[in-house]
């Protein structure tokens, strides 16, 4: 399985929002989105990743881009994680059916959780850039996100 490639139209998917609503492909249209797939809420690298990315949310907003964090954790776990970090990043849960969206994007680990990957989607719902970390333990720097926006 490999991460979805640039130039590919984003597949249909449904993720759960923090309040239990649905977030689907149509919600990506009209603006640039940065989808950050991460393995586990509360794990050390994931915690470091979201606090690091919090630092550049303003810069992303200046570019008309919104960052979303996606994992196979349940939305309540994600909510607790977000609160603990003091994060403002919107969390989207790929819990039910578990990993379905991650699979559709080519970022489902054999262990059944999301790989550490970033997918940038343009306002037309086409993948602009994608990246998967060499291992779940590797933390992609913010520079890669902005390289992807310019790709």
């Amino acid at each position: 399985m490999t991460v979805i490639e640039a130039g590919t139209s984003v597949p249909e998917f449904t993720l759960a929002t923090e309040d239990g609503g649905a977030f689907a492909r149509g919600d990506l249209l009209g603006a640039t989105s940065v989808l950050v797939f991460y393995p586990f809420a509360f794990s050390p690298v994931c915690s470091d990743q979201l606090t690091l990315y919090e630092e550049v949310l303003g810069d992303l907003a200046e570019r008309g881009a919104t960052l979303y964090a996606i994992s196979t954790d349940a939305r309540w776990s994600q909510a607790a994680f977000k609160e603990k970090l003091g994060s403002s990043v919107q969390q989207l849960s790929d819990f039910e059916p578990k990993g379905a969206t991650a699979r559709a994007f080519g970022v489902l680990h054999d262990g059944g959780f999301t790989q550490r990957a970033i997918v940038t989607v343009d306002p037309d719902g086409v993948v602009k850039w994608s990246y998967q970390a060499p291992s779940p333990g590797d933390l992609p720097g913010t520079n890669l996100i902005f390289d992807g926006l310019e790709a």
Binding site: T51, L52, E54, N143, L144
Partner: protein
């Protein structure tokens, strides 16, 4: 709109804080005074036979005191006492509230009123922000990260780093 895409870390210059063995290998330490792993890195690097430069990688979302402490160190730098203040922040990380910072400044013989003004000075905040953002552009994502000959080494350095670098 600032550029945050990939760019090499700036070369060490007169604007950097540098100490150690002038003939030793140059190591740039990107760190955060609220980071326990950085305190361990500091322990291992402080007396190593290296030429050591320190740059801030202070992420506000990581810890609310990350940026204020970096600014405090830069304020001490304005009165010529950067390294002493830097050492004290890592070596007594449990005492970093404002009264502790004033006490440190007093103990180092700094003009405390000037220190207090300087650490809130926009120019000082800009130094910390610029170093952090340059580090981000260079691909730094965690602290501590050492830069050796343009190679980034995240994590606590080995005890024998100086020996490894000098062969």
């Amino acid at each position: 709109m600032s550029d945050l895409g990939s760019a090499p870390a700036p070369a060490v210059s007169g604007a950097d804080h540098v100490r150690g063995d002038p003939g030793g290998p140059l190591v740039v330490f990107y760190g955060d005074y609220t980071c326990p792993r950085c305190a361990q890195a500091h322990d291992r690097l402080r007396d190593a036979r290296l030429r050591l430069a320190f740059r801030h990688f202070a992420i506000a979302a990581k810890h609310p005191r990350a940026v204020p402490l970096a600014c405090a160190a830069e304020a001490a730098a304005r009165q010529g006492r950067f390294w002493e203040f830097h050492d004290s922040l890592f070596e007594d990380a449990a005492h970093t509230d404002d009264p502790h910072l004033w006490e440190r400044a007093r103990a180092l013989g700094l003009d405390v009123e000037r220190f207090e003004r300087d650490r809130r000075d926009e120019a000082v905040v800009a130094i910390v922000r610029a170093q952090t953002r340059a580090g981000m552009r260079a691909g730094i994502a965690e602290t501590p990260t050492l830069m050796i000959d343009r190679t980034m080494l995240p994590g606590i350095p080995p005890l024998d780093l100086a020996d490894q670098l000098t062969g």
